[in-house]
Symmetry: C2
Subunit: 326 residues, 2 copies
């Protein structure tokens, strides 16, 4: 199969109007009047960000959704994406069909059509890099740098499911896995494999938050990063951090608890909301079907300090800070 | 070194205003009023698109310039780029410093600043994927689909240098390499390693051409693609195809000649210009410092047919069509 055949067969069907039928080397896109573009790129490598034998559908969904999650946290709506696909030799048609099919479904769900791409072969592992374009009304993007002293810290959904799911899904699951029911195991693994970007919250984040980011490298580390970028400090009450029933079944184990709060792949939204907007943020988020939970507040202190208060009222120290790629 | 350290040290210095200091996961960019965005992405893999021991500077330049070349052929001016960098374990600081330094210089030269990116580690080969944003006045992007019967076919610069340069640079150079002087060898290798995107021609392509594309997978194959996309045919006089002095020194060899006309990596512009605009296109291009040469014309015939007439007046058949990644 030539590259052109591959494009015609798998990618033309999922391309949006900006792709011009993927007949050109470029896409053509006009942002809506009065809007600014929000741009992000994230790459996934087999054996690093997912397991090489994960189903192609979940790999496709994760690759797109981690980017949609970035947009959601900035209060931005997706407009489309460009795909770089580095395929190992011998990638077969069945794999490509399932990958492209799932990508196309997600593109519809998130109203984020394929605009263009590049497909290359590689002697190395499968790699997917996706650039997503979003837009926001001019001046309304919510930055990581905007958190202010006095703001209430919120997170969406539940924390730690994906980090625990990775451990359950991995080659050497820890002993606490035995405490999980079958459905709880499946739930945690699904949370690892298929992030649910909180796009429904984008307009609310834009309307209510001073600062926001998506939690992709662990709550503890990402909060530290946001506080550092904003030049402020945070105080979090660990008893308030929202956990799923599945996570609750194992976090009595100290190592599991630390994994949940410091591990990556949550793709929830962490945001700093001024007290005046906190109630309306909470209520409208619930109306949109996403629970948001107050976990602490932004306080004065050395920039980038995040203090996590444990059940004993004392600061909790984690065994490790956040996921680092290097 | 953490990912944040790496970003701060090597990439913040080359970032433009849209990057927001690379403190967020996203870039924020407002296109100029009345302009549309032209978007393209190209990926390079070590061992496939370049030699793993090529200097980091030339790898950086090639990675950005192949994208700038796409924009130039569409009549578009660059606005900025997003970088995905998959680094093999053990990539050292000296490599990164030279890579980022050269990328930063090119970003200045082409007025195409870094907007954002993602850096990941890989157990596989080095891979670079770059998404470039350009803009054009609304409605003026030059498509591959626009060539019309009667148009004059032009190419910029000279053809085949990079394909010959790759053979000279490779592990088993062909016998004809002995016919090259030292400076000619260096010239051909440089043409392979460091494309010169014809950005100076972008406004002229926009003003004069009905259809255009950059020649990246070989003149013969790319012309066929453009004719196919435009639903027309082409007739090219091989005696008119412009060759450099270095290429002229070896293309008496039939295999070298075929490599020059079918091999990739030219990054010249191929365009179809109506006869009414041909003279002004030629003259203004020369004023901008880029020679453009009439190589043939768009004719009626089966869509996607490109006939190359040899010195004997008969159609020439190439041993292979164009570079395919699969």
């Amino acid at each position: 199969m030539t590259e052109d055949d591959l494009i015609a067969r798998y990618f033309v069907p999922i391309a949006g109007p900006a792709a011009l039928g993927l007949k050109d080397d470029t896409a053509l896109y006009a942002p809506p009047a009065g809007q600014e573009l929000v741009l992000t790129v994230d790459a996934l490598v087999a054996g690093v960000h997912f397991f090489p034998d994960d189903p192609p559908q979940t790999i496709a969904r994760k690759a797109l959704r981690v980017n949609i999650s970035d947009l959601a946290a900035k209060g931005s709506e997706p407009q489309g994406f460009l795909l770089t696909l580095a395929l190992p030799h011998g990638t077969d048609a069945a794999w490509l069909e399932r990958f492209a099919g799932a990508l196309g479904e997600d593109a519809k769900t998130y109203r984020c059509p394929l605009m263009g791409g590049d497909t290359v072969s590689t002697p190395g592992p499968l790699m997917i890099s996706i650039t997503v374009l979003g837009c926001v009304p001019a001046g309304s993007m919510v930055k990581r740098t905007g958190a202010e002293t006095g703001d209430i810290l919120f997170v969406s959904g539940t924390i730690g499911d994906a980090a625990l799911g990775l451990l359950v899904h991995g080659k050497s699951p820890p002993a606490w896995v035995d405490r999980l029911s079958g459905p709880h195991r499946d739930f945690l693994i699904a949370r690892y494999l298929e992030p649910q970007p909180r796009l429904a919250l984008a307009p609310l984040v834009r309307a209510c938050a001073n600062g926001a980011m998506d939690v992709s490298d662990g709550l503890a580390g990402d909060l530290t990063k946001m506080m550092h970028a904003s030049g402020v400090a945070a105080r979090v009450d660990l008893a308030r951090v929202p956990f799923s029933d599945a996570a609750k079944a194992v976090i009595a184990d100290a190592a599991a608890f630390d994994s949940a709060v410091t591990g990556g792949d949550d793709y929830e939204i962490l945001c700093a909301v001024p007290p005046s907007h906190a109630l309306v943020f909470e209520q409208l988020a619930l109306k949109d079907g996403v629970a948001v939970t107050r976990i602490g507040e932004v306080v004065e202190g050395a920039a980038g300090t995040a203090t996590f208060i444990g059940a004993d009222g004392k600061p909790h120290t984690f065994a490790r800070g956040s996921y680092s790629h290097f």
